[in-house]
């Protein structure tokens, strides 16, 4: 079961690196923010799987919860900022 978690972690790293394409040459600013948010939510799963591989799931789960809250607040703050400063972005 441990080797299965390692395999899934490696596959997940490949999956996480796919939206980097959209971040690098997204046509608009919103595409880049969307790709960054997608990478953040998938990293959350990667942290839990790393905790399973190391056998210290209880510590890594606390990190996961804090990371999820910070990711959510970051996306909401960027969306709010873009709403308030409208018209200057492509």
């Amino acid at each position: 079961m441990d080797s299965f978690f390692v395999y899934i972690s490696v596959i997940l790293i490949v999956i996480i690196s796919i939206p980097l394409y959209r971040i690098y040459l997204g046509p608009t600013l919103y595409d880049r923010i969307l790709g960054a948010g997608a990478i953040g939510t998938k990293t959350l799963v990667l942290i839990v799987l790393i905790g399973c591989v190391y056998g210290r799931l209880e510590m890594f789960l606390d990190i996961t919860l804090a990371y999820a809250v910070l990711n959510f607040i970051g996306v909401l703050a960027i969306a709010k900022y873009l709403n308030s400063a409208r018209g200057r972005h492509g």
């Binding site: 079961m1 299965f4 899934i8 596959i11 997940l12 999956i15 996480i16 796919i18 939206p19 394409y21 959209r22 608009t28 919103y30 595409d31 923010i33 969307l34 790709g35 948010g37 997608a38 939510t41 998938k42 959350l44 799963v45 839990v48 799987l49 399973c52 799931l57 209880e58 789960l61 606390d62 996961t64 919860l65 999820a68 809250v69 990711n71 959510f72 996306v75 909401l76 960027i78 969306a79 709010k80 873009l82 709403n83 409208r86 018209g87 972005h89």
Partner: protein, 107 residues
Amino acid sequence: MGEIQNLLAVLMISFGAFFMFVGSCGIVRLPDFYSRSHAASLGDTLGIILVLGGLMVYEGFTMNSAKLFIAIVFVAHASPTGSHAIARAAFRAGLKPWFKTNESDRE
């Protein structure tokens, strides 16, 4: 019992990784921002729910399982909300949706 638990966990985690892969491909392949945001929010949410649910099945009834359940509930609410907030900001800034026909044909 342990065998069934492991089998169910492997199946759920594999399907979750598959859905996250579909979401990533959708972010790269789809034609405009709104459809990309659809792919990102739906695929990621279902993938995370399946992977963390599979880990809950693998853990059994422990404290870790309860924390995983809290993480699932939080992600299931937060991921669509964040996606909606970005799409609303884009719509208010005047980003046009993509149509299959040209501008001139559409009248």
